[in-house]
């Protein structure tokens, strides 16, 4: 390459970089009342019931005929976060910790409402695992991601029972809930901490509970449905409608276990493989609570900061809430 061509080549590279950065803003569009497209990113499991019903009833599609509504299932809160950062999705549902990580790193997302709270179990097959003390360095524990709620609860439990929050870090394996179930049953991992309906199936296959998450942080930490502050500001009425729809569906699910169980059994977003009766009994379980108020935001943030996973703690839960739930959480 001759000397004269160098500046040309470099300017080309810079140009390409600039252009590629501009390609991402898909639905920034006009400032009408509703966006041209809206993607909802959620995770498999019992907590997806609200979204499955909302999707099946096509409520949003009817309310906003000009908006292209899309549904995406991903495996972890980290993946939800990435979808929102890259603007592949706008509404996300995820656990408290991955939400806090995003907030800590400067994402402008806030809580639209909470979804549901349930008790998750650390399940092992081998009877030699009775407490956390029984896990040796090679006994792997499956969680969906190292920043998932289960992983944080496990660290807190390690701190309480083993005296060191990082005592089990070497044991953690990031693995999707369904894959983790397989891995546990085939003996590739020693234990798995996921949620419903996976944990019930693991128990049915001979597993036993080593740890209840509700015993660690107390009855807080419901899943969150989040939206970016800027999106809310741009489409306030649209956002409020989405909020109201979700509240309605949540109430519906809470009061209509049979119909919800039917929807779950028919949808792969439920985590797969279950009869209507099985899902109904899961929904009937009193430890599953549908609630719209976020909880445990400050408690989780305080713990996560204390072990160096995030750098700041919100002054109050209100700092993390959109007007829909403003001032109600903790």
């Amino acid at each position: 390459m001759s000397k004269r061509q160098w500046p040309l080549a470099i300017s080309l590279i810079i140009l390409v970089l600039f252009l590629s950065a501009c390609g991402n803003n898909a639905n920034a569009g006009s400032s009408s009342n509703a966006p041209t497209s809206f993607t909802i990113v959620y995770q498999p499991g019992l907590g997806a019931a609200t979204f499955i019903i909302l999707k099946n009833q096509k409520t949003l599609e009817k309310q906003f005929p000009d908006t292209k509504i899309q549904w995406d299932i991903v495996n972890s809160g980290s993946a939800v976060r990435e979808a929102v950062i890259s603007n592949q999705g706008q509404l996300g549902t995820l656990g408290v910790p991955p939400f806090l990580v995003g907030w800590d790193r400067g994402m402008d997302w806030r809580v639209l409402l909470a979804t549901s709270r349930s008790d998750s179990w650390l399940i092992a097959i081998n009877p030699r695992f009775k407490t956390l003390k029984d896990f040796g360095p090679n006994d792997k524990i499956g969680v969906v991601a190292p920043d998932a709620q289960q992983a944080i609860v496990l660290r807190k439990a390690a701190q309480q029972q083993l005296g060191n929050a990082h005592a089990l870090d070497r044991n953690l394996v990031a693995i999707g809930s369904a894959d983790g179930e397989q891995a546990l049953l085939s003996g590739q991992i020693a234990a798995q901490l996921s949620g419903s309906p996976f944990q019930q199936r693991e128990i049915a296959a001979g597993g036993h509970v080593v740890l209840h998450t509700k015993d660690v942080f107390g009855p807080v930490g419901a899943g969150l449905t989040v939206l970016s502050q800027s999106f809310y500001n741009q489409y306030p009425s649209f956002s409020k409608t989405v909020y109201q729809d979700l509240v309605n569906e949540s109430t519906y699910v809470a009061n209509h276990h049979t119909e919800a169980a039917q929807a779950l059994a028919a949808d792969k977003a439920s985590g797969g493989g279950g009869s209507v009766a099985q899902f109904k009994s899961l929904l009937d379980d009193t430890s599953l609570v549908f609630e719209k108020t976020p909880s445990g935001l400050v408690a989780y943030a305080t713990f996560m900061k204390s072990i160096g996973l995030i750098s700041k703690v919100p002054g109050s839960a209100n700092d993390l809430e959109l007007p829909t739930v403003s001032g109600t959480g903790n």
């Binding site: 470099i10 590279i13 810079i14 970089l17 600039f18 950065a21 980290s78 976060r81 990435e82 950062i85 890259s86 990580v101 995003g102 800590d104 790193r105 400067g106 994402m107 090679n138 792997k140 969680v143 991601a145 190292p146 920043d147 992983a151 990082h166 870090d169 070497r170 044991n171 953690l172 394996v173 990031a174 693995i175 891995a183 085939s186 003996g187 590739q188 991992i189 996973l309």
Partner: protein
């Protein structure tokens, strides 16, 4: 660039020495990168600036995360390659000395070498569980074929005269392989090793990511993946920089080994 057959007595304009040109290109790239991040307004969550990357590098070197990740990855690579080299050399020797060995190598190479290492990872995870043995096995699997096939070619192309000298000296089989065949086939063996390590390095990092071993004993793939989980793009970039630099370093090591052996012995032209 073409090299003139005869150098005319033209007045040559001043040119920078090679290393300075490389550094200049690197510097221009870094400046462009920094300017792009600072001026384009791109989200810092999508692209980390060189400065942020450098900070992450320094911080994670200081707190021991990167050194331990590097160690784990290099260890996986070294153990895998070590086993791969020994197995490859044994297969090539068998192939040279017996008809059966030759057929065996032909069939095994034909069947297995087209398989990408990552593709057999799910299988090794079943066999070995989520341990580094699974990663090491994949590296062994990937390095055996290029090494044995190249070594075999190397052994086969050893000149008749060299073979006859070995016979004339009355060497034992072991002496023949160790003292004659290995050095004589070294150019081929080294190019096999080069293929093997480039493959192995990519595999180790890739497997560590697929593995998603979330503990603090993961390698560089784990480090990057973990940075992803904790939304830390500077650390992701730092991990990539380290992987790339280690690649350059290992390649330099190879060039050094070649320089000290086959180039010095006149079996390969210096570049």
């Amino acid at each position: 660039m073409s090299v003139p057959l005869f150098r005319t007595a033209e007045k040559r304009t001043f040119t920078f020495p090679g290393w300075l040109r490389y550094i200049l290109i690197g510097a221009i790239f870094l400046i462009a990168w920094q300017l792009y991040v600072s001026l384009s307004g791109v989200s810092q969550l999508l692209i980390a600036s060189p400065l942020a990357t450098l900070q992450a590098l320094i911080a994670d070197f200081a707190n021991g995360q990167l050194p331990s990740a590097i160690l784990v990855s290099l260890q996986n690579l070294a153990i895998g390659m070590g086993i791969g080299i020994v197995t490859g050399l044994i297969l090539a020797s068998l192939s040279t000395f017996s008809r059966f060995g030759r057929d065996l190598l032909t069939v095994l190479t034909a069947v297995f070498s087209p398989l990408p290492g990552i593709a057999i990872l799910p299988l090794t995870m079943l066999w070995f569980g989520l341990s580094s043995s699974a990663i090491i096995f994949v590296v062994v699997f990937g390095s055996v074929w290029p090494i044995s096939a190249n070594t075999d070619t190397g052994f086969r192309t050893i000149g008749t005269t060299t073979r006859m000298v070995a016979l004339n000296l009355g060497l034992t089989r072991l002496q023949t392989v160790r003292d004659i065949f290995l050095p004589a086939a070294l150019p081929h063996i080294l190019s096999g090793l080069r293929l093997a390590w480039a493959f192995g390095w990519r595999t180790v990092v890739g497997a560590e990511i697929v593995f998603g071993v979330a503990g603090s004993n993961g390698g560089l793939g784990w480090y990057i993946n973990n940075a992803r989980y904790f939304l830390n793009p500077p650390a992701i970039f730092a991990g990539l920089v380290v992987i790339s630099l280690l690649g350059v370093l290992l390649d330099t090591l190879f060039q050094f080994i070649e320089q000290q052996t086959i180039v010095k012995w006149g079996m390969k032209q210096a570049q």
